[in-house]
Subunit: 367 residues, 2 copies
Amino acid sequence: MGSTAANRAVDKGVDFANYFCTYGFLYHQKEMLCDRVRMDAYFNAIFENKHHFQGKTVLDVGTGSGILAIWSAQAGARKVYAVEATKMAEHARELVRANKLQNLVEVIEGSMEDVTLPEKVDVIISEWMGYFLLRESMLDSVICARDRWLNPNGVMYPSHARMWMAPIRSSLVDQKKSDYEGAMEDWNSFVNETKTYYGVDMSALTNPFTEEQRRYYLQTSIWNNLHPNQIIGTPVIVKEIDCLITTVDDIRDVRASISSSITEENARLCGFGGWFDVHFRGSNKSPAQQEIELTTAPSEDTGTHWGQQVFLLHPPQRVQCGDNLTFHFSMSRSKDNHRLMDVDLSCEIRQPSGKLLPPFQKKFYIE
Amino acid sequence: MGSTAANRAVDKGVDFANYFCTYGFLYHQKEMLCDRVRMDAYFNAIFENKHHFQGKTVLDVGTGSGILAIWSAQAGARKVYAVEATKMAEHARELVRANKLQNLVEVIEGSMEDVTLPEKVDVIISEWMGYFLLRESMLDSVICARDRWLNPNGVMYPSHARMWMAPIRSSLVDQKKSDYEGAMEDWNSFVNETKTYYGVDMSALTNPFTEEQRRYYLQTSIWNNLHPNQIIGTPVIVKEIDCLITTVDDIRDVRASISSSITEENARLCGFGGWFDVHFRGSNKSPAQQEIELTTAPSEDTGTHWGQQVFLLHPPQRVQCGDNLTFHFSMSRSKDNHRLMDVDLSCEIRQPSGKLLPPFQKKFYIE
């Protein structure tokens, strides 16, 4: 199916029920607004690059509570269009008024794809990043906004994004395996009891139940705040995105063949951690005065609400310093919900001696 | 809006995303199949009333894993139609085959409203009950099936249903109040910090945030397994339903004015517990040989997966043995989702002396 057709196939009502509804709660907005790493990055990106905002027109895609639109106005924008698909738009409008910016910030309730602006804009700002960058597929809406509404010399906030992965150790691998085994033990007692007490043989469902539980416990990536010392090999870049030129086709399927070296002696490879960073660099024609980075890499300090996504390796594998991991990563959108992701990961481990360990190939779901 | 128009207004895709999807997981089916009170009731209702099944045609509305259809066939049905809206239909078909009943049980994937059967049926069996009986509004589909497919002398399994309420004591009232106060303290720090660090005044959102949190912590009914000793007054019937004759109009809005007497000395009225029971009595023309009851009332033994719904009273109120509670109960479907419920509860407490305590009126949400 082509790109336009695929987008058209998304039922708006279903998408709202599955996705947008969460963003209609102030509680959820507050969680994002309390993420200091996120807030500081956008705040500094705007106020240390006021030249991008002074006297300019700005579009905030998915404004939520309106914070980025308000900062843009406070930094000197002539006009800010703040588009929000959920009822949160009403609260954003209220907040804009309370901060006396109603003459500068216009909150528009609607989905970005449907909205018409009275003019083109000089800056598109958006906090569109989901877990492991692309979950939620919200960048699509930002791309759509850019293609329709950004002036030829306009800038994107953020301007660049990268996905990262690294081999990790994690006790989650044992916990999830034990959870899975517990669920299967429960199932087996259930099958026995249903046969004994109710005369029905449920064993025909053991295979699909096993599959369902394997998927849930072993193949679904996990939100986690990794500590840097859980990283046992060199982090590698999986994908780089230039927000000014990327297309939906460019991000719909992410494929990479990459290498990482184990940096720890006698370590237990329990899986991979995935995270992202974004940069605010302006554009070639209009660079930032102060480049700002927002990273969600494992950190000793406070993490972000994005944490990292952990892809567990069952069973874990013993690796040695200097072992070289070559892995093929592929991520595409889930058939049932374009905002969720299916990941394929295959990996080869070569020891310094040249000897190859048995390769593995795994399927994961980012839900 | 009239009944047909209201039903038509439900977007099927959205309803599937919000509601049916849960029932597509075997894990969820297993939870229901492990509910011994539920299983025993249906099992006994069928096998102690084989005369209703032998040589008869049966329709199972929302068959899930197919258990009720399989029992109906094992009890001697000539033909069983098992309708299921989710992909669980495939597993049901597998289970039917594994139990060698594929000649008797026909699994049909589709929503009850859309399905066409080749003949009318003698029995409609269904496990349609949601929390506090009517949450999920699945009885609508059973009524639709009955009106279209039940023979004039057919019977309904279950045949009757009742909603109950009783005044209760519960420490949840303190816990939820403290959770709410904690959330509001967090909010106030957040408002201060956002002003200090980021120059934005968020206090305009304090009122809507308060409302959102009040609704979440104080006004949303809570799933709970009550112990019988938490009941401090006489349980009262809020609604009785005869499944053979009830209509969607009859259950869309439930209203009742009822009285309960406090049965404990110096008790703390913390709210109300709501539960249901259903009965399998056959019909007047074809009564059950053995009447079976399935109750979800508070019990010292194992509870059911339905538990009870608790509606908390903030602040709780001191009551005395013999105090008489008169309350007006009204439950209607949520505007945004016809499977969820809005409840209005007003209450007057009269002491044996005739003195009235201050009345209260509360709004609740069953989510």
